[in-house]
């Protein structure tokens, strides 16, 4: 494994970069460092943002400085252990049919598989949340099998419906609110990943894992009604390493 590098991001953030490509092992090191840094309670840290291959440490320059943080983080990296961390595993229902999946046929054609097989492979294994970004509560998950390595749409959609499940470049995301987007839409979940009026507005965090559970259009509709009525709570469990 290569040595992480420190990159400056002005005087209020520091980047610890573990690699340049999308790689599950690299991402695990990022999240492991995020966890340790959070536990260390270093003074002056404002936020710790794990991304796919680097960690951004936001800090208050009136309390600490890049040099102090770099020294503390270097020390942690020196004692880096590759052990697994505990994580939260979510079961998320997804409808992969009809209006919920406008790009599924094209994706299947591109992957040279039938649609049922695309769905089976998308939902086969729990996927890790590499990072949260783009919009509140918006997770990036991976890595999907290699055959999902297809580029983004040539032209992004102006409006992606909220709760769309999308894929591109071996990753999958959930659009938390209606917004523009350039990924392929292969399903939709009835579950809200971001609800500002809920006690916990944001459902998931980086490091959690999600298992997608295919549901038929009818079940999707009834689950959606339950969510809207406030009678549904997403299922999750804590998994020890």
């Amino acid at each position: 494994m290569s040595e992480p590098v420190f990159l400056p991001a002005g005087d209020t953030a520091l980047v610890v970069q573990f690699g340049e490509a999308v790689d599950a092992a690299v991402n695990r090191r990022v999240r492991h460092l995020a966890l340790k840094l959070r536990e260390s309670e270093q003074k002056g840290i404002v936020d710790i943002v794990p991304t796919i291959r680097s960690l951004m440490v936001h800090y208050d320059p009136l309390v600490t400085g890049a040099a102090t943080l770099e020294a503390a983080i270097s020390e942690m990296l020196h004692h880096e252990d590759a052990g697994e961390d505990a994580y939260r595993l979510w079961s998320i229902p997804v409808c992969y049919e009809g209006d919920c999946a406008p790009d599924l046929d094209n994706v299947a054609r591109e992957m040279e598989l039938d649609t049922a097989e695309v769905v089976r492979r998308h939902a086969a294994e729990p996927l890790e949340i590499f990072m949260m970004g783009f919009l509140p509560g918006f997770p990036y998950l991976g890595l999907l099998p290699e055959e999902f390595d297809i580029p983004r749409l040539f032209e992004p959609r102006v409006k992606v419906p909220a709760r769309s499940i999308s894929i591109a470049v071996r990753q999958t995301t959930i659009y938390t609110v209606e917004c523009p987007g350039g990924w392929h839409l292969i399903g939709r979940t009835p579950v809200e990943f971001f609800d500002p009026f809920r006690a916990q507005p944001i459902l998931v965090a980086a490091g959690d894992r999600i298992r997608f559970e295919p549901v038929a259009a009818g079940e999707y509709q009834s689950l959606r009604k339950a969510v809207e009525a406030g009678d549904y709570e997403a299922v999750s469990e804590e998994v020890a390493p």
């Binding site: 990159l7 002005g10 005087d11 995020a34 936020d47 991304t51 680097s54 890049a66 949260m132 509140p136």
Partner: protein, 343 residues
């Protein structure tokens, strides 16, 4: 309920405080004041802590009507004047607190000298905080008043129904509004994605802020920068002041409402001490960049903090604006009540 009623919205005003910097790990943008220094000064003038949410606006401010016994306000970020309609029209300077009474209306002369201005009110607004902040983030419809810019007819609930009668305050030295000079930039995190010629051109060329400038970012017009390693990176974190350069080579400086992560390479980052000044710039203004290292940037921020604290300590008593008609009415009414009690 005591409130300020929006009679005319002006140009998309929002409520802003210091934002929500601690929730970026969940994808929540920071938001908050584009010019936190002017927000702090405005709050100090009305006796608040520095980070109480105020109305932030640009170009054309809102017209508000006081639906409370009294409210103390101050305008900052601009030298434009505060206009009070109290039977007659009274023009008052910015950077001075003033107490208004029920039924009076306030508005602001067109703001031409600054990209952003603040109307601070004593006690602040009685609205729900979202992720520890009152800042409006319109794209996700959170914070502020119903998660959106203010509109005609909105009634902004006030925490105080009435303010104490006490001396008004003003700030005399407005020299911080006149600071000029290049925007200081720390190169990175992706300086290596650009040719050396481009990095040199970036430091020697004048850039103009385009009309496509909002709370999320400022697009710049000027020499296009050349990428040495393409214009896609694996998305990483973004900090306020980051200068990202998409495929067309034209830099975009990311401001308070920036997304938390992004996939364009960032040639450098405007230092935090220069962010308030950047926030006050407007489309058509020109700017130059100057390189500084991280240690120098951190030192610049400490120096700026000293200057701000000096300004906050230098508030002086202001001549009260005597709303004589209102005073007369008040005396008359209290006189009647007293007579009744004695009788």
């Amino acid at each position: 309920m005591s409130s300020l009623k929006v009679i005319q919205a002006g140009f998309a005003p929002t409520l802003q405080d210091f934002g929500r910097p601690a929730f970026q790990n969940r994808g929540v943008p920071v938001s908050g004041a584009l010019d936190p220094v002017s927000l702090r000064i405005g709050n100090a003038l009305v006796g608040n802590d520095g980070g109480v949410a105020a109305v932030e606006f640009r170009l054309v401010g809102p017209t508000l009507e006081v639906l409370a016994e009294s409210v103390r306000v101050a305008l900052t970020g601009t030298r434009s004047e505060l206009i009070v309609e109290a039977g007659e029209r009274v023009v008052l300077p910015s950077y001075q607190s003033v107490t208004l009474r029920r039924g009076q209306r306030l508005s602001v002369a067109p703001v031409a000298d600054s990209g952003v201005a603040y109307l601070c009110v004593e006690g602040g607004f009685d609205l729900p905080r979202v992720f520890d902040s009152l800042s409006t983030y319109g794209r996700s419809r959170i914070g502020g008043f119903e998660g959106r810019a203010l509109q005609e007819g909105d009634e902004l609930p006030l925490r105080l129904a009435e303010v104490e009668a006490r001396g008004e305050l003003r700030l005399e030295d407005l020299s911080y509004l006149e600071e000029r000079g290049p925007m200081r930039v720390v190169f990175g995190p992706q300086r290596d994605y650009f040719t050396d010629e481009s990095a040199a051109a970036f430091l020697t060329s004048e850039y103009t802020i385009s009309r496509e400038a909002d709370r999320m970012g400022m697009r710049l017009e000027g020499p296009a920068l050349e990428h040495a390693r393409g214009y896609n990176i694996t998305s990483d974190g973004i900090v306020t002041g980051a200068i990202q350069v998409p495929g067309n080579g034209l830099p975009i400086i990311l401001l308070a409402d920036h997304q938390t992560t992004g996939g364009y390479p960032k040639i450098g980052t405007v230092i935090s001490a220069d962010i308030p000044r950047l926030g006050r710039m407007k489309p058509g203004d020109t700017l130059l960049f100057e390189e500084i290292d991280v240690a120098g940037a951190e030192e610049a921020r400490r120096a700026q903090e000293k200057e701000v604290l000096k300004l906050l300590g230098a508030l002086s008593p202001a001549a009260a604006w005597l709303d004589e008609a209102a005073l007369y009415r008040e005396n008359l009414i209290s006189g009647v009540v007293q007579d009744g009690e004695i009788g």
